[in-house]
């Protein structure tokens, strides 16, 4: 197998073992990402418990349908990423590049909706911390928007990073660097993108729905 020998680093016995090691390393990284977001979710949970009525009112003032549409957009981009991995496994790396390109476009749609939301918040004074001068009053209102911007902002940064990773891996795939034999970067980029989707699946109900 020529393809498998060229991609194996000298300290691995076989391509299969190298792939397992890479996958496990990625999962360890994803676990740290989960814990990074969990710190923010825990803060959100505490303040939502302490200031339930204000948090519920502030949550209702968000545009729920934008959050729902963004969920559908991200879920669909996850499908195209999964299909992209499927394509390269079938020996069609160019199809992978196209599917990853579609995912990047969907991520841009997601960020576009976030831009609409953020500019609305800036206009109505729904800002974090001491800059808050929005409509919802009472203790905890500015805390809601502090946590809102922290959580959606950190997630947004992850969307941007994921877009870059998908663009790079998609380009390399188009250039024929991956195929049915070797496609570990395609798989790991996909894992990262699915995690970004997974986190949004929890952000959406926590911030918009309850």
């Amino acid at each position: 197998m020529p393809a498998s020998t060229t991609h194996v680093a000298h300290h691995f016995e076989s391509l299969e073992k190298q792939t397992h090691a890479a996958r496990l390393g990625m999962w360890l990284f994803l676990a740290t990402e989960v814990l990074l977001f969990t710190a923010l979710f825990a803060a959100y949970a505490v303040y939502r418990y302490l200031y339930s009525p204000t948090f519920a009112e502030a949550s209702r003032s968000l545009t729920t349908w934008i959050g729902a549409v963004n969920t559908l957009v991200l879920v669909t981009s996850s499908l195209t990423v999964a299909m992209g991995l499927n394509a390269v496994m079938q020996g069609k790396p160019r199809r992978t590049a196209v599917l990853f390109g579609v995912s990047v476009l969907l991520a841009l749609v997601f960020l576009g909706f976030k831009y609409v939301e953020y500019s609305h918040h800036f206009q109505t004074g729904e800002l974090p911390g001491k800059y808050y001068h929005g409509e919802v009053q009472g203790a905890g209102a500015s805390l809601f928007y502090t946590l809102y911007f922290l959580i959606t902002g950190l997630h947004g940064i992850h969307v941007v990073i994921g877009m870059c990773v998908l663009a790079v891996v998609g380009t390399l795939s188009w250039m024929g660097r991956f195929g049915a034999e070797y496609h570990t970067p395609v798989e790991l980029a996909g894992l990262y993108w699915h995690l970004v989707d997974l986190i949004w699946i929890f952000v959406f109900p926590l911030i918009y729905l309850i």
Partner: protein, 134 residues
């Protein structure tokens, strides 16, 4: 790392078998569940039920993504163990922090002393008034 025959065979099969149909079904389920949770959020459930319903649906969606899009369904134990361990710490971090805040009460020192209730607010021979608890 011990490699069993069945695992190698399984990995081999993954290389050639298309998962496209499975991905589409999972995607359809995720779309339907997103619509469902959006629709259900319009009803005002009493108490903590709105949170419960929203989080149960989110967990179902998250499980679908982790198992099928992220391939935990057909990968070996180590990756599953790492992910499940991270979820255990999520439960500990969120659960214990909430439990801490939910069970706080003013220190039970004698009324008027440091850490106790002001002497005047203590009702005759009993617990402090509930309204003072926060």
């Amino acid at each position: 790392m011990a490699e069993t025959d069945s695992e190698s065979h399984f990995e081999e099969e993954r290389l050639h078998h298309s998962h496209a149909g499975r991905y589409v079904w999972v995607w359809a389920a995720l779309m339907i569940l997103t619509g469902l949770t959006y629709w259900l959020s319009r009803f005002h459930f009493p108490g903590g039920w709105a949170v419960t319903v929203a989080l149960v649906i989110a967990s179902a969606k998250g499980t679908l993504v982790a198992l099928f899009f992220m391939h935990l369904w057909d990968q070996r134990g180590a990756n599953r163990l790492v992910f499940v361990t991270s979820l255990v710490f999520v439960a500990l971090l969120v659960g214990l922090t909430i439990a801490d805040n939910a069970t706080r009460f003013p220190l039970a020192n004698p009324p008027g002393s440091l850490g106790g209730w002001p002497a005047s607010s203590m009702p005759q021979g009993g617990m402090p008034p509930a309204g003072e608890a926060r």
